[in-house]
């Protein structure tokens, strides 16, 4: 397997790395035996292994870096930070869902060099961390597309579809410009989300402020200044509206948690469907207007369907694997408390 054209040093490095990787998994007794044989066969084997093992150990420091913190493969449940949604707990009809995120295909991100423009796209359920050349960070939500242009005089992202979070590098000497539809968002520092889904744009600063301008310029010639705790919705058609977020609302979608505060049921389903195959449909349109408050784990549509049914006392039918229909109950429409 290892080519003889490799230097001795490189060959040892690869062998030692392969052993570290093997032993990190679930080595069989014969693996262990083979390892001891290899380790003892040559002092240079032992030396290389010990060095690689030690270097591997130090890689735990990655947890302290931006890159490490932004890792996108979901962590095991016990490794996840505890959710902190005080607001949700206070509301009757709270739906809390366990389970894990499923990330559909890791290879969906395709950066393509195209002059100075980088194209990024994510697939269903894939939340992707994108370090930008200037040290800023973009987190691309599932089913999103973005173009990044970075150059000496330019720092611009075009969000073609989906949602992205931008965490700006401190040392940035020029503002980051994000365009989504007919909206242009400008920020010098801080963190903010931009969503562009079905032609509707949402801008939400999480830390620091942003300036939002309507590119068509017809009715809002002056840029709107938004600060953390506020959001601006710019619908496909109609007038922009500004709203406030409750204090403590944390927008944890990059960590696989979807939070809703008094959100229409159809919107909740649309959002959750970005992370899972399958579907949840409503037997009657009137259900769409039910309001949902709570925090959900992305990527588990069946659990969401069951919890919604329990929370609103609806009947749940699975038409085929992964596809659910919520229906009004045959008798009472009383809202029940969800059962744990």
């Amino acid at each position: 397997m290892l080519g003889y054209f490799l230097s001795k040093e490189e060959r040892l490095r690869r062998e030692a790395s392969a052993w570290v990787a093997r032993l990190e998994g679930e080595p069989s007794p014969s693996d262990r035996e083979a390892f001891h044989k290899w380790y003892g066969a040559d002092g240079r084997n032992a030396e290389a292994f010990d060095r690689v093992k030690s270097v591997y150990g130090s890689a735990g420091l990655l947890a302290t870096t931006e890159l490490g913190r932004g890792r996108a493969l979901p962590s095991s449940p016990q490794g996840m930070p505890r959710p902190r949604y005080a607001l949700a707990a206070a509301v009757a009809g709270l739906v809390a869902i366990g389970g894990t995120i499923s990330v559909g295909g890791l290879g969906g991100l395709v950066p393509q060099a195209q002059a100075e423009t980088l194209l990024f796209a994510t697939t269903l359920g894939e939340v992707r961390q994108v370090p930008l050349p200037d040290g800023s960070r973009m987190t691309l939500d599932a089913l999103s597309k973005a173009q990044v242009r970075m150059g000496p005089g330019e720092r611009q992202v075009t969000l073609d579809e989906g949602r992205a979070r931008f965490a700006l590098a401190r040392r940035a000497d020029r503002p980051l410009v994000v365009e989504a539809g007919r909206t242009r968002v400008t920020a010098d520092a801080g963190t903010f989300d931009v969503g562009f889904i079905d032609g509707n744009t949402t801008v939400r600063p999480l830390q620091g402020g942003v300036s939002v301008r309507n590119l068509t310029g017809d009715n809002t010639p002056e840029p709107v200044r938004l600060s953390a705790g506020e959001a601006l919705d710019i619908p496909h058609s109609g007038l922009p509206s500004r709203r406030r977020y409750p204090a403590g609302s944390a927008a944890q979608w990059p960590a696989g948690r979807l939070e809703f505060a008094d959100t229409r049921l159809d919107q909740v389903i649309a959002e959750a469907s970005r992370y899972s195959r399958g579907s949840i449909s409503l037997s009657t349109p009137s259900l769409a207007a039910l309001r949902v408050t709570g925090t959900f784990r992305a990527g588990n549509l069946p659990a969401l369907a069951r919890s919604l049914a329990a929370a609103f006392n609806l009947r749940l039918e699975q038409t085929r694997a992964g596809h659910f229909v919520l229906q009004p109950p045959p008798t009472s429409s009383r809202v029940a408390n969800p059962k744990k």
């Binding site: 040093e9 040892l12 490095r13 690869r14 030692a16 790395s17 392969a18 570290v20 990787a21 093997r22 990190e24 998994g25 679930e26 290389a48 060095r51 690689v52 270097v55 591997y56 130090s58 890689a59 735990g60 420091l61 990655l62 947890a63 302290t64 870096t65 890159l67 490490g68 890792r71 996108a72 493969l73 979901p74 962590s75 095991s76 490794g79 499923s102 990330v103 295909g105 890791l106 290879g107 991100l109 992707r128 370090p131």
Partner: protein, 62 residues
């Protein structure tokens, strides 16, 4: 040290990097990672090996 670690990570394909971090930082088993990514357990081990090799290239002092 941190810079070199990050540099090593950035030299990897995103898939390799995420698999490495999922195991090293989150303690996910190869089997769990395999299940999530659709790779075989051996395939995950191979990605781990690649990542470890790259880190040693930039950090190890042979």
């Amino acid at each position: 040290m941190l810079r070199r670690l990050e540099a090593a990570m950035l030299k990897l394909k995103p898939k390799t990097r995420e698999i490495f971090m999922a195991h090293r930082l989150d303690g996910m088993s190869y089997a769990e990672i395999a299940q999530r990514t659709g790779l075989s357990v051996k395939g995950v081990e191979k990605q781990m090996s690649k990542a470890i090799t790259q880190i040693d290239r930039l950090l190890g002092r042979p």
